[in-house]
């Protein structure tokens, strides 16, 4: 059992990070903390992709005359795109939070819900 955990430690790390992110997104009331949890959640997937591309005994995918075994570069390139997407999502979310702060006066979810209920 311990061996099972140790050998596949990279997957365990991404599972643990993912659950931390999920928990934060559900449980935290502060909107910015939610966004930070969302980032942790996304980073766990990035780590999953990056470790997926590793080939045992392979080196960085740069051509060298005496090397035959390379890591798979495709997941790494894919994750570059996903990082860009993640950054823009964060930027949009933060912009929306600024607007929320301006209009509602705070960024605690339960207080905002109270204000919204009062308006109805």
């Amino acid at each position: 059992m311990i061996e099972f955990v140790i050998i596949k430690y990279n997957y365990w790390i991404s599972i643990v990070l993912m659950m931390i992110g999920m928990y934060g997104m559900i449980a935290k009331k502060n909107l910015i903390k939610k966004i930070i949890s969302m980032n942790i959640f996304q980073v766990s997937v990035f780590l999953f992709y990056i470790s997926m591309g590793k080939v045992k005994g392979g080196t960085a995918p740069i051509y060298l005359p005496d090397v035959t075994l390379y890591d798979n570069p495709i997941p790494h390139v894919l994750i570059l795109t996903a990082i860009v997407v993640s950054i823009s999502t964060t930027a949009v979310a933060l912009a929306i939070i600024i607007m929320i702060q301006k209009k509602f006066g705070n960024i605690e979810e339960d207080k905002i819900l109270e204000i919204m209920k009062k308006d109805d």
Partner: protein, 488 residues
């Protein structure tokens, strides 16, 4: 040539803010030009596809398993057609409605995001590469978040924020799913994956990947238990945006689900190796009934329409889960019809909101006499939503019932009938208020909506009736698509 379908909206989105700096009026005309140019190319492409078979484009000339491939075949031809048609209506409608609802200085950037959103939905429809699909899903969602946040009501901000959180969870699940499938097959091209997957169907990796992919797509599709982001987002967005999202957003996700279920995986995997189709069948039935019930309890007109969308999405996924020729045909025709119906109903709700300033159903007394044309079109579209014969809603429900009978899922038939009568109830409330309530609201001197809003409303609701009387076009398009899905 098909690459221009994505390229034109993308370039328009880039040009819009630059020209907007000099003259703000250009952004609307650019969007309109973009809509008509794309529609023209889509029509030409569809014509080619039906004569010569699937059209393909390889990016940079790299062959499919290595490069990104764009494909138009019979399945996405019909989706492309309806999306580009609905986009033309939305752009024409948006001129007056955005001027009323959004600050003037933001209009140029609004049109930039609308064009970007259009790029995203067209990209999802046209791409043959599974990672490209994820990127386009994110482009679509990111522009949708910003567009929703522009709503006048401050609740729009929270609606947009909630959509952002749930949408990102969905998109990240799709990303994990793609990762698992890439691990199992080493390929990202949909057709290549379809060839390589059957050898590894028994692997847990593929099953986990399938679970993540379908869960993420169902979140984007707003299938019943995952629908919570949809009603607020559609209600508080600016009217033109709400209509555009209701007409295209979920439809494109439904199409992506079709692709994943039947073009990446196979019918055998979905229904025999794992019981996904059966789960989807039950979820769809729950979605149909509960969406209609939730719609009845709403006071806000737009929110009622949004909950009715939740129910109607159930019809689409119902057809996918039964998976025979008739039901798939019904499902694709329903994507087509529901797009038209919901766009027209949301247009009308937006028009009432702009003219009246409020949208509670109880306050719409005697509106049928003040806005005779608008409410007549409302009547036409609601008839279609209920599924009265000689309207387009009847055709799709008919095919769904035929499909269910063929597979002897008899329980589906009462579900469809109950939901139709429920939708009759919630739409009747509006019509009763509009025509039969004697007390007139004398406070407001309301006139008909302006012509630039009435034309898209009229066209979309008349098309609902037109495709009910002459259903040959959507039926023949959907039949070819269903045949491809079933591999005939």
């Amino acid at each position: 040539m098909i690459v221009y379908i994505v390229l034109i909206p993308l370039l328009t989105a880039l040009i819009t803010p630059i020209l907007g700096m000099f003259n703000k009026k250009t952004s609307f005309y650019l969007a309109l030009l973009n809509a008509f140019a794309t529609f023209f190319i889509v029509i030409l492409t569809i014509k080619k596809v039906y004569i010569y078979g699937p059209e393909k484009y390889w990016f940079g000339g790299f062959e499919p398993p290595y490069g990104i491939e764009y494909v138009v075949d019979s399945i996405n031809a019909i989706i492309l057609f309806i999306i580009s048609l609905v986009f033309i209506f939305s752009v024409i409608y948006s001129k007056k409605s955005l001027e009323e609802e959004v600050e003037n200085k933001r209009l140029t950037l609004m049109y930039t995001m609308i064009n970007l959103y259009y790029t995203g939905i067209l990209g999802i429809t046209i791409t043959g590469d599974i990672f490209n699909l994820y990127v386009f899903i994110e482009i679509t969602s990111l522009s949708a978040y910003t567009l929703i946040a522009m709503g006048k009501n401050k609740k729009a901000l929270m609606a947009s924020y909630n959509y952002l959180i749930l949408g990102t969870i969905g998109a990240t699940f799709i990303l994990i799913g793609i990762g698992y499938i890439f691990m199992a097959t080493g390929s990202l091209n949909m057709y290549d994956i379809k060839l390589r997957l059957p050898a590894v169907y028994s692997s847990k990796m593929v099953r986990t990947g399938f679970a993540f992919l379908t869960l993420g797509l169902c979140l984007k599709l707003a299938l019943f238990p995952l629908h919570t982001w949809l009603p607020n987002a559609y209600t508080y967005a600016p009217s033109a945006i709400g209509a555009l999202l209701a007409g295209t957003g979920t439809k494109v996700s439904a199409y992506a689900l079709i692709r994943i279920l039947y073009s990446v995986f196979t019918l055998e995997f979905d229904s025999k190796i794992i019981p996904f189709n059966f789960i989807l069948l039950i979820l769809s039935c729950v979605a149909i009934i509960s969406g209609s019930f939730l719609a009845i309890s709403q006071k806000n007109l737009k929110k009622m329409l949004a909950y009715s969308s939740v129910g109607q999405i159930g019809y689409i996924s119902l057809g996918l889960s039964i998976a025979n020729l008739n039901s798939l045909q019904g499902s694709i025709i329903h994507i087509f019809n529901h797009s038209l119906m919901k766009v027209s109903l949301f247009f009308i709700a937006g028009g009432i909101f702009i003219k009246y300033g409020y949208e509670n159903i109880n306050e719409l007394k005697g509106i049928g006499r003040k806005m005779p044309y608008t409410m007549f079109f409302f009547l036409l579209s609601s008839m279609s939503l209920v599924g009265i014969p000689f309207t387009s809603g009847f055709i799709s429900k008919w095919y769904l019932i035929l499909g269910a009978l063929e597979q002897s899922y008899y329980l589906v038939i009462p579900v469809i009938i109950i939901s139709s009568s429920l939708s009759f109830i919630y739409l009747w409330r509006v019509i009763e208020m509009a025509y039969f309530d004697k007390k007139e609201d004398t406070m407001h001197d309301v006139k008909e909506v302006p012509l630039s809003m009435l034309v898209p409303i009229g066209f979309s609701s008349l098309l609902c009736v037109f495709f009910g009387i002459y259903p040959k076009l959507p039926i023949s398009l959907a039949e070819q698509a269903a045949n491809i899905i079933l591999g005939k």
